[in-house]
């Protein structure tokens, strides 16, 4: 089983009041920002279950927005983010839903902007830890703890070998998913180090690779 570290247990230093509902929300926002990786025009936050029921009192709504704006979990502006000038960069609204097939603390970001529409689904899994579970229709698993390469490609033999051969640093985990055999597939690769633009360019030029995104890990 995956082990947490001592620093995980005695951190983060954060704006209260809830590690799952406030810090987790901010970190989900920060991940969504890193994943979208472009100028945002508008966003809809859809909060599920416990996020929906208790989000207001925990500042979950403020946290999601603050994260998407790039504010760190201990930023003192989060408390008054709705009245802050930095919150005027894009339009935002909130939806609330109950769906017991979803995690108790789940959220969907529907983001429109320079990279078109992207729907990012995540969960706050406890103690400020998070997981991004879906980007558009692809299942992923991003925790923000690792620099992560996300590839969309055609599901043909040898793709994993071709991609991993180009990466000369240790791979912490690798997850693949596909629509159907021979159709579009996704690969998320968590790295112990970082890759440079040369590697990214190489990956983009591999035959049958449609899209490459490099998602930086969150500052802890």
């Amino acid at each position: 089983m995956k082990q947490s570290t001592i620093i995980d247990i005695i951190s983060p230093i954060m704006a209260g009041p809830s590690s799952s509902h406030t810090a987790g929300a901010i970190r989900l926002g920060l991940m969504a920002k890193n994943i979208y990786n472009g100028k945002i025009k508008s966003v809809t936050f859809r909060l599920y279950n416990s996020f929906a029921l208790t989000g207001k009192g925990h500042g979950t709504d403020k946290g999601l927005l603050a994260g998407l704006l790039g504010l760190a979990v201990d930023d003192s502006r989060i408390k008054n983010i709705f009245n802050s000038d930095i919150a005027k960069q894009f339009d935002y609204n909130y939806e609330y839903a109950q769906d017991f097939n979803r995690h108790p603390n789940a959220v969907d970001f529907t983001i429109d902007g320079e990279n078109g529409r992207m729907i990012i689904s995540g969960e706050s899994v406890g103690a400020g830890e998070i997981a991004i579970r879906k980007i558009n229709d692809f299942t992923v698993k991003l925790t923000g703890k690792y620099n992560t390469l996300l590839l969309i490609y055609k599901d043909v033999p040898n793709m994993i070998a071709r991609v991993t051969n180009a990466i000369h640093i240790n791979i912490a985990s690798l997850n693949c998913d596909r629509y159907a055999k021979g159709e579009e597939a996704s690969m998320s690769i968590c790295l112990d180090g970082s890759v440079d633009d040369k590697v990214l360019d190489f990956l983009k030029n591999i035959k049958n690779v449609y899209f490459v995104s490099y998602i930086k890990k969150l500052e802890s």
């Binding site: 247990i9 209260g16 809830s18 201990d74």
Partner: protein
């Protein structure tokens, strides 16, 4: 150095002649590919933030977003100005520091989630309160916080430290167990005594539910923090006397895990039972939602 230490038995075995924080800092530094000094400076950052939260909390009586909590630390400080606590100055410090920190948390102030935000006041109030009273050096405070972190880390390998998964026993309960270990380290306890303090504190909090009123980290979380900080002191005193938990540390954690699984979802941060469904809680809910 063994890299994966998942149980207290394994921890005890590698602590051959060294204590918990020494074994822990060597492993953590190696795993994160940093020096022990760099690791300790990260721990110091958390320690400093804990002290800052106490300082800010002692000065404020701003209420939370809901308006339900926020002015109890002030009340307690006033009381201790007039009447000294029966259990002495250390008791006063631990309880006021705990209220200061947890109230700072609910007004969206800056705190250290240790291990979670709802339980953020237990470790700091014990650690800082005792350090001030007994004039414990900063290095020894860092040693104690590493000890607390190591204990929490091992528990978290088995049980997710989240009220929604295992109830408050896994949040404030674990924070109290971490504090008992930290305090025992500060008082010069052996590895056995540290682990027994942890087990004794944990054992006496099994079954603690998470039933927050209006679903907020306020009622009963605010007052639970000073209560369980004092609970940690009891555990540490007993352990330092050589009193052992008859159920070994790892088995106590097994019981914690099983209790968490058996606990009704109505009592795990869903606010569907317990205190959250009392008549007064429902009235507060109505008031708050307006």
């Amino acid at each position: 150095m063994e890299k994966t230490i998942s149980t207290f038995e394994e921890l005890k075995n590698i602590c051959n002649g060294i204590t918990v924080y020494e074994a822990a800092q060597l492993r953590e530094a190696e795993l994160s590919e940093i020096s022990v000094a760099e690791f300790r400076s990260k721990v110091k950052k958390s320690l400093d933030a804990m002290k800052e939260a106490i300082k800010n909390g002692l000065k404020s009586h701003e209420m939370s977003i809901s308006g339900m909590c926020g002015d109890d630390c002030e009340r307690l400080q006033k009381r201790f100005l007039r009447h000294h606590a029966l259990l002495g100055r250390l008791f006063e410090k631990i309880t006021t520091y705990a209220l200061a920190t947890i109230e700072e948390n609910l007004r969206m102030g800056k705190i250290v989630a240790c291990p979670t935000a709802g339980s953020c006041a237990i470790v700091p109030s014990v650690l800082v309160g005792v350090s001030e009273e007994l004039k414990i050096s900063e290095e020894d405070q860092i040693n104690a916080l590493i000890t607390a972190g190591e204990v929490g880390r091992i528990i978290s390998n088995k049980v997710a430290l989240a009220g929604a998964v295992a109830g408050c026993q896994a949040e404030c309960g674990v924070a109290s167990a971490m504090s008992a270990a930290a305090l025992t380290q500060m008082l010069g306890g052996s590895v056995d005594e540290i682990l027994n303090a942890m087990a004794l504190a944990m054992k006496n909090l099994l079954g603690l539910t998470c039933d927050p009123v209006c679903g907020l980290v306020e009622i009963p979380c605010v007052k639970r923090n000073p209560f369980l900080a004092i609970h940690a002191v009891t555990a540490s005193e007993l352990a330092l006397a050589g009193i052992k938990s008859k159920i070994p540390p790892d088995e106590v954690i097994d019981a914690l895990e099983q209790t968490g699984k058996l606990m009704s979802p109505l009592l795990k941060e869903s606010s569907q039972g317990g205190l959250a469904k009392t008549k007064t809680a429902l009235e507060l809910e109505k008031e708050f939602l307006q």
